[in-house]
């Protein structure tokens, strides 16, 4: 029986844009194949909607929810190699395997993303400078292509499709299963060093001096500070705590923390997040975090916002946009990031969160985001359309420094800027046309970026 769609107004996590799509929720591969062969129109797969913008939206077209494909298929206790369906959440992987001494090789700022989404967006985490992106640990995956064929892709087999699918925002087909490496850990805790930097110069000095000493490294930046304090920040860097580092009070070193959750019940009124409230928050955050070493539970280090359900509602009904840019190492990234902070501080476009990270070298993913250098991530409440011209100014700055913005968080990049940022777009299209000659896989984002008609 052919499954039925639900017509629904859908958005990504940023709640912008909202688009009407026909949403399917198949449960078996056979159903997916029937859908592809019997339904007209284009398709894009959708995990749990944690990409921020329109990556997984398909205005007027079909969206395939993959959340019922959530089974583990194989696990090797010796090697830590895991095979699972693409709808498995990173959260489930932590819950099942952390108590057995295994952890995700790369985890983004939320554990509520699917394995398929992690590959299609080639996500990264706080170990981007050391360990690269999620795809580094992917041995292979199965891809359902437009003609209903299941294609095994790895670095050896169908390598061109592998590298077009990694970071390929769902345009080569539907990722069905994936095999990837988990890492061994001794505890569910992270040994974190907190260190304050008075301004951007000091932050960069500290990054350059000690980044290599830590597996995980990130800096929270007060993006409203200006003048001599421009770029003042709190650096948070750490490693998986070894068993002997833990205080005696921790009886079960591998047990993830209890899931006490708060829920953001309604959309916050728009006046809650304004220049003054955010400045006050940032002031407080900077003051509270003194230089110190602390042992913290993994989830509060990696996924601090996950403890609040629907935290995106904090930004009100209009939603917010995320903007993450990478500035390559050889084009004076400090100057680029300083300029960006100046623009933000001047515009008073209150960004609640700004995060600075160093990035390791680019991989072979044709549309993968990272490149060796520094990345700055912002989320900015969407108050009115005047934000978009400002984002275009940021784009220009990024392009002039040889950098690019992260597609998983984007919702407004123009086609010509995209092509400047991702010079391998033509190579990507060659592979895309090989496996999907009729553009059966297409999204609002791919049409905006000129990757499909």
């Amino acid at each position: 029986m052919l499954s039925k769609p639900v017509k629904q107004a859908l958005s990504g996590w940023g709640q912008y844009p909202v688009e009407s799509c026909y949403v399917y929720r198949p449960e078996m591969i056979k159903e997916l194949q029937t859908l592809l062969s019997e339904r007209d129109g284009s398709f894009i797969s959708y995990g749990v909607g944690r990409s921020y913008g329109d990556t997984a939206l398909n205005k007027g077209g079909n969206v395939i929810r993959m959340d019922r494909f959530n089974h583990f298929l194989d696990f090797n206790e010796e090697t830590g190699m895991l095979t699972c369906e693409s709808g498995v959440l990173l959260e489930e992987i932590i819950d099942v395997f952390l108590p057995r001494g295994f952890y995700l090789p790369v985890t983004p700022g939320t554990k509520f993303v699917t394995v398929g989404g992690a590959i299609a967006n080639d996500v990264h985490g706080k170990n981007l400078h050391k360990d690269g992106t999620f795809s580094e640990y992917v041995q292979s995956f199965e891809l359902l292509t437009a003609n209903g064929e299941v294609l095994l892709c790895s670095r050896e087999e169908n390598a061109d499709v592998f590298w077009a699918t990694v970071g390929g925002i769902g345009l080569t087909g539907i990722i069905l299963t994936a095999t990837f490496q988990l890492i061994r850990v001794e505890s569910a805790y992270i040994d974190v060093t907190y260190e304050r930097a008075r301004n951007i110069d000091e932050a960069f000095e500290k990054f350059i001096a000690h980044d290599d000493d830590y597996k995980y490294s990130v800096a929270w930046i007060d993006c409203l500070a200006s003048g001599d304090s421009l770029g003042r920040s709190v650096l948070m860097r750490g490693d998986h705590a070894k068993r002997e580092d833990l205080p005696a009070s921790i009886m079960e070193p591998l047990k993830p923390a209890n899931k006490l959750k708060a829920t953001m019940p309604i959309h916050a009124p728009s006046f809650v997040l304004n220049h003054w409230s955010i400045a006050a928050f940032n002031e407080l955050y900077y003051t509270v975090n003194k230089d110190a070493d602390k042992i913290v539970e993994q989830s509060s280090f990696f996924h601090p916002l996950d403890s609040i359900n629907d935290w995106n509602k904090l930004y009100g009904k209009k939603g917010f946009v995320q903007y993450q840019a990478v500035f390559p190492k050889n084009e004076n990234p400090k100057a680029g990031i300083t300029k960006m902070l100046e623009m933000l501080s001047k515009k008073k476009t209150a960004s609640f969160l700004a995060v600075l990270k160093s990035s390791g070298p680019a991989n072979d993913g044709l549309l993968s985001f990272p490149m060796e250098g520094y990345t700055l991530a912002l989320d900015i409440p969407l108050k009115d359309d005047s934000l978009f011209p400002f984002l275009r100014e940021l784009d220009e700055l990024v392009v002039s420094h040889g950098g690019r913005v992260y597609l998983a968080k984007d919702s407004s990049l123009p086609q010509d800027t995209f092509r400047k940022m991702y010079p391998k777009w033509e190579e990507f299209l060659t592979v895309k046309r090989k496996v999907d000659p009729n553009d059966r896989f297409s999204s609002s984002m791919s049409r905006r970026l000129g990757l499909t008609d």
Binding site: S3, V6, E27, R68, H71, F72, L73, E85, V96
Partner: protein
């Protein structure tokens, strides 16, 4: 720890129930017409919960082989502690009104086959003086409505059968639990039932069933608020009810 046989293990409710039972450390024997579809679930359960899972082919309508099927499972497991009947068929009411085959399919799957296999299980557990018999019926069996009374009547039959079985086996120390779910967010309802606050997550229903077994419940409405809803619906006088559009 017990060995529990789940008939019709591929449905969303059955999958969630299996997860909860496995989490509680029970070993499972899963059945379906096509065990290939079940293999994914078996692998998932064994990885997540490190338990022993067996797969068995079972055809609800192949009545002649139910006896052999059941004794084979008992033999291979070295003794069974429970049986959960979780399959069901629902045809479109309008189709079933004019096409007897569609009605008969529901009657045979939901009622006749249940009587066939559960009779066998009941005799086994009665002799053992221990065990759990559980079947998923439906709130639709509590009152006939024009929108789905043929399906509802098969579930009413099942509920009454279970009630009698409970009465018979109570003194023998066998738990007989009837599960009455309301609307659940499954393949059956996706795209049919529009986003409703009454639509339950299968994980919630699965947890309720596993808890219900643990707490030795007789009749389980899940989610719980269906108990209240059906109480009210059952109280409406027939004179009024027959005029209603439900």
């Amino acid at each position: 720890m017990a060995k529990i046989l789940i008939l019709g293990a591929t449905s969303s409710i059955a999958q969630s129930t299996a997860q909860k039972l496995a989490e509680n450390g029970h070993d499972l024997i899963l059945t379906s017409r096509n065990t290939e579809d079940l293999n994914t679930l078996k692998r998932d359960l064994s990885i997540r919960h490190q338990i022993d899972v067996k797969l068995k082919p079972f055809d609800a309508l192949d009545f002649d082989h139910h006896e052999a099927f059941f004794s084979n499972v008992v033999e291979e497991t070295g003794g069974l502690d429970g049986i959960l009947l979780m399959y069901g068929a629902m045809a479109d009411q309008k189709v079933a009104e004019t096409d007897f085959e569609a009605s008969r399919q529901m009657i045979d799957v939901n009622y006749t086959s249940a009587v066939s296999i559960l009779n066998i299980a009941a005799n086994y557990f009665e002799k053992k003086r221990h065990g759990i018999i559980c079947a998923v019926s439906s709130v639709a069996g509590d009152r006939g409505r024009k929108s789905n009374y043929i399906y509802g009547s098969t579930k009413a039959g099942l509920s009454t059968y279970m009630e009698g079985l409970r009465n018979r086996l109570h003194e023998k120390g066998v738990q007989v639990m009837t599960v009455k779910p309301g609307m659940v967010d499954t393949k059956m309802t996706y795209g049919v039932v529009k986003d409703s606050p009454l639509l339950a997550d299968p994980d919630k229903v699965g947890k309720d069933i596993a808890d219900g077994i643990q707490k030795k419940k007789d009749v389980l409405y899940t989610p719980w608020f269906w108990l209240i809803i059906m109480l009210v619906i059952k109280l409406i006088p027939e004179k009024l009810f027959k005029r209603m559009n439900l």
